[in-house]
Amino acid sequence: MTHAQAGHNVPLAQEVFPIAYQRGPSGMGPRNARRPRGASSPMRPVAWLIGVMGELLVTAGLVLGLFVVWQLWWTDVEGARAQNEIIAEMDWGSAPTGPATATENHGPPPVMKEPPEDGTLFAQMYIPRFGDDYVKPVAEGTDKATVLDTIGIGHYNGTAMPGDLGNFAVAAHRTTYGKPFNQIAELKNGDALVVRTEKTWYVYKVTESKIVYPQNVEVIAPVPGVTSDQPMPELTDRFITLTSCHPMFSATQRYIVHGELEYWSPVGDGKPKELVG
């Protein structure tokens, strides 16, 4: 057999696999040549739509994650800074310290009028159990946007003012937004809750801590525990009530701390002994 004869009988590779030897304009070879490019295929818009939906879902996931970061971390950073600034701006002057501590007055204390407008700052709260330097501003109202998220501790409208007969009821965040009542569950009976208005110290002592449901409004009644369908007895005691959320990061229940006024003192007399040493 000659070479020329073999050429006739054995087919060339190009003849057997013609498509493999076709080169498209991109020079990518056989795979590229098999898949048609452009919008001529009916699958392209569907695939594109699925791709865009995937991107949107991934974006939504990232935004939700970012919201958690903002809620749990950034509101705290901002809240703590804002509350410290408010305390500094109140500029009531520091009470004289020195060896003398405030005299303990047990008679009826001076009571300021309730501010007519929500958001009005009128007091500062010191809770030694939360740290020696713990002091937070107290404003009128319990609206989240104007008081609880931005100022700190909010006074329930219509409840007693500091030192007054009845119940001085306040609320604050336990987590996020500077979390003024973060350690509320650590309060024990006998712990001091010191409220300062511009002229007066009011020293309350914790008498009870409990967990209730949000609808149990009798905890902020003038006499705590007296529900609206019961007759209100004559007011003889001066209570304080703190409310915050429970469990942490939830809103199913409320953590409640009750206290009673122990004594009061003019600010000029010095600091209450609970805040010294």
């Binding site: 336990r174 409004v217 409640i256």
Partner: protein
């Protein structure tokens, strides 16, 4: 979607990347200052008060 954005930004790769970083920062800033504070008003887990 993001591929379209990438192609829409002119310039070399490092410039596109820089523009994207600035855009992401802007979106995060708007979220933190405007969107999230608004959204949190409707979240139930921040309630600390008793009553309505």
């Amino acid at each position: 979607m993001y591929a379209l954005l990438w192609r829409a930004i002119p310039g070399p790769g490092w410039f596109k990347f820089l523009v994207c970083v600035v855009l992401i920062f802007g979106v995060v800033a708007v979220c933190f200052t405007e969107f999230f504070p608004w959204l949190s008003e409707y979240m139930p887990f921040n309630d600390t008060t008793v009553g309505a």
